[in-house]
Symmetry: C2
Subunit: 207 residues, 2 copies
């Protein structure tokens, strides 16, 4: 299982500094949507320059105009880009093509996607499907139960990620369960007094 | 009925030039999502400086972290911001509060929102509900039939907008129908040889 650390809601300078510190410690460093909407393409390039050893995921959250947004994201140097599962199937198909052409990876964010829609969109080969609990919701997510239920309902999905309030114990349980490719952690690491030490703690817990 | 002209997929310089030309001609000028993700907050401020007489809509397409994104959008000077109807209800409630606190206006983008979800989200007072056909889809939208059906199903919605391939005849028919507050036009105007003349033509058709 890999660890993805999400960097969000910082100035670009602070985000770049944080990314440089975490580079090589986390498997994947995420440039969060807030940074995309605050700093745009130039911000993506700055994050790419900061992340040399880890993979860079840019959380574009594309929901329309898939080809354009994914071309821009890969042009900026991202390894992985996100599309919303709530998009039209046409958008998901389009970004799958753009991703293949760019030799990149796509993550489908399943935030608020109903079961009936999941049945339509869970056949994209090589895509990572991210189970995602909205930050605006106040209820909590049980990581292993959520992954187990998704895997039971959609056994054809090969790559699962999970985001939304996963703590150290949750990450450890996910690793032991063996169904998840990527655990995504944001505030728990970034708000720690020492984010690099917190990253190492998570890395140790999931290995 | 008002006309909203969407500016998308240009360099910021060209977008600002276009916005200055259209300012005062269209009721609302839209900074499209591609410009947000390419140029970020500084891009929003540049568009705000260019649009003095018309209203400025920034097509944020927020789907999570509603308070942060809407605070940033209003801080940049937008009059109207968009949230995806596909968001969690918690996100929509959050941006409604942020919008009220900022004295701004919110538009709920109904792209790919199923009927069952529409029933939950159609009670936000003062919100504009935008019927929206994905640009990645190849089928066409019948504007007046789409609006009539939506109005029949959700008569409590007071403010309707529609986007997605509406041409001059479609805009005229929508104005005559009298159910739509805002018609949103992108490429048909922006790709015309003279976008200002095309805007005037639409404005005349809907008055």
């Amino acid at each position: 299982m890999q660890l993805q650390v999400a960097i969000d809601r910082l100035t670009l300078d602070d985000a770049v500094t944080a990314a440089k510190k975490l580079d090589g410690h986390a498997d994947i460093i995420e440039m969060g949507t807030s940074l995309v909407k605050d700093y745009g393409f130039a911000g993506m390039q700055a994050m790419r320059a900061a992340v040399v050893q880890s993979q860079l995921l840019v959380d574009l959250k594309t929901i329309d105009e898939g080809a354009y947004e994914f071309q821009q994201g890969f042009k900026a140097g991202a390894d992985i880009l996100t599309v919303m599962g709530a998009s039209s199937w046409a958008t998901i198909e389009t970004v799958a093509k753009t991703t293949a052409a760019a030799g990149g990876t796509m993550m489908i964010d399943l935030l608020e996607v109903p079961q009936v829609k999941l049945k339509i969109i869970t056949d994209v080969k090589r895509a990572i499907y991210a189970l995602h609990h909205s930050k605006d919701r106040h209820d909590k997510l049980d990581p292993t139960a959520t992954v187990a239920e998704f895997h039971h309902n959609f056994p054809q999905v090969q790559h699962i990620a999970i985001a939304g309030g996963v703590d150290l114990a949750g990450a450890k349980a996910l690793a032991a369960q063996g169904l998840t490719d990527i655990v995504i952690v944001g505030g728990t690491i970034m708000n720690a007094s020492d984010p690099v030490a917190a990253t190492e703690e998570f890395m140790e817990a999931i290995r």
